[in-house]
């Protein structure tokens, strides 16, 4: 039994390379998604009707179609229009655009959650419209939606496994190749699961630290207490 796990151990460099690729794609796509999401959220709250229409078209189109097909269209479909890109670029763009649509809705909800009184008070204090948004609305909205954004990041990390369909050697793609060579199903996929666990927990931990440090008062994502009773007694 154990020699089979040792066989897999020999593939550790492949898993590390694949994990690094997965992480790169996740982070790049997430940056793109944040930018697209913010723009789409602003556009959907804009006064111009065309902007609102464009934003809702984007959000509805992306959120109501499967991501796998979106990836296929970017990688296999766009070359018909003369637009060639590597599996890496295609993956970043497909996931950036996809997650962007979900984040747009998150941002929109966050902006709406800021009480109207806050804006009124800020404008009475003499702040410009843009200042009201950047200094008053956005920080409060960001705090409200931060957990949802982190959630989307983890979803994105796990979703990149679909890129194995366009021959990108990320974690799942690498695992299926190793599996077809070794035929050690249980060992290969257990190794892969552990790799995802490590990556997603690391990302969550980093996001938690950022939340603690960049919000005032510090934003705590998870309440961690060893004993549920202890918390109750401390509160009492």
């Amino acid at each position: 039994m154990s020699y089979q796990w040792l066989t897999l151990w020999g593939y550790l460099p492949d898993f590390i390379r694949a994990g690094w690729l997965t992480l790169q794609i996740t982070l790049l796509a997430f940056c793109l998604a944040l930018a697209l999401g913010l723009v789409a959220a602003l556009a959907s709250a804009a006064r111009t009707r065309v902007l609102r229409l464009a934003a809702s078209c984007y959000i509805e189109l992306i959120r109501n179609t499967p991501i796998l097909l979106q990836i296929f269209i970017v990688f296999f479909g766009l070359p018909s229009l003369g637009l060639h890109m590597s599996a890496y670029t295609a993956g970043v763009i497909a996931f950036g655009v996809n997650v962007g649509a979900y984040l747009a809705e998150v941002f929109r909800a966050g902006i709406q959650s800021v009480p109207k009184g806050q804006r009124e008070a800020a404008s009475i204090l003499g702040l410009e419209r843009s200042q009201v948004f950047v200094s008053v609305v956005l920080p409060q909205a960001a705090r409200a939606v931060y957990p949802a954004i982190v959630n989307n990041l983890i979803q994105l990390l796990l979703g990149t496994s679909l890129l194995s369909g366009i021959a990108l050697p990320e974690l799942t793609g690498t695992a299926t190749v190793i599996n077809s060579r070794t035929l050690l199903y249980l060992q290969t996929f257990t190794f892969t699961l552990i790799s995802y666990l490590i990556l997603s927990n690391a990302l969550s931990w980093i996001a938690e630290q950022i939340g603690k440090r960049s919000f005032h008062p510090p934003l705590v994502l998870k309440q961690r207490s060893r004993n549920p009773l202890a918390r109750r007694s401390s509160r009492a």
Binding site: F76, P79, H84, A167, G173, V177
Partner: protein, 277 residues
């Protein structure tokens, strides 16, 4: 009652005598006649139906047409064989995994299925003379300017996960990038759309793909030793084997095999059926 008993005794006596007579006959009969009577050839002719095992999910060798009827290169060859024998044809769908058990348990009389002959399989079944020759070559876009593996330096090869098809080019000392797709369809699509430069597969399969899409072509490489694929039959039936070999000889001599190959694969066979060592 008595009458019944007596007649039963007489019947028994006749039966014993008859059995002895039959046993004696069989023992004394010449062995050649015995072999021909127990041959699959004889059974097929008596039954009036020829059962051909074929992989019917492997276009264009065998597949189901729009009406759910078997069609393809193998099926055409089977139809011709049944016609020559003057019997009805029954196509039995097999997979590459169950074709040997199908022969051993006499579920089918012969298996076509682009059957690659090797000594491991020949321990279990017998093979006829070859009916189609295969190697591996590359499917490329016509305008790519790739004519052989030598043109592949620093280009991309699409393969199917788990296959070692890219290794043959690498072992020639040509540096290539390899993309591994989930299915051969995805790999072909990658070549069509310019995401990869070539796909390595069975020459006959690729010829068919190039026939379906005129923008694609197949290189003249033979990246692995030629495989002379044949029909498989159950072991120990020389009469049936001889008959099938003569059938193959005749359709090769008459040019019918070549004609059917051209019909399904869009080109003449790339490699001759008689080996040149």
């Amino acid at each position: 009652m008595k009458l019944v008993k007596t007649s039963a005794k007489i019947a028994c006596g006749f039966a014993v005598v008859g059995l002895l007579a039959i046993a004696g006959c069989t023992k004394n009969a010449p062995t050649g006649q015995d072999a021909s009577a127990s041959s699959t050839l004889h059974k097929v002719l008596q039954r009036g139906t020829l059962r051909v095992g074929d992989c019917l999910s492997f276009a264009p060798f065998g597949f189901m047409d729009q009406n759910g009827k078997p069609d393809g290169y193998d099926v055409d060859l089977a139809k011709e064989l049944a016609k020559e024998m003057g019997v009805k044809l029954e196509m039995v769908d097999t997979t590459s995994a169950n074709r040997i058990p199908n022969l051993q348990t006499s579920k089918v009389d012969v298996v076509f299925c682009n059957f690659t002959r090797n000594l491991e399989r020949a321990k279990e079944i017998e093979f006829t003379a070859p009916y189609v020759v295969a190697s591996e070559a590359m499917l490329v876009r016509k305008e790519s300017g790739i004519h052989s593996a030598k043109d592949m330096a620093n280009r991309t090869i699409a393969t199917v996960k788990g296959s070692t098809n890219g290794d043959e080019v690498r072992s020639m000392g040509i540096p290539v990038k390899i993309q591994e797709y989930d299915s051969s369809q995805a790999a072909i699509l990658a070549v069509k759309q310019g995401q990869a430069d070539a796909m390595i597969e069975d020459t006959n399969f690729l010829a068919y793909q190039a026939k379906l899409d005129p923008s694609l072509t197949v290189t003249d490489d033979a990246l692995v030793p030629l495989e002379y694929n044949a029909f498989g039959v159950k072991q120990g039936d020389q009469v049936w084997l001889n008959y099938l070999n003569l059938y193959l000889f005749n359709i090769n001599a008459s040019g019918l095999n070549k004609q059917l190959y051209h019909k399904w694969f869009g080109i003449d066979p790339k490699f001759p059926l008689n080996p040149q060592f």
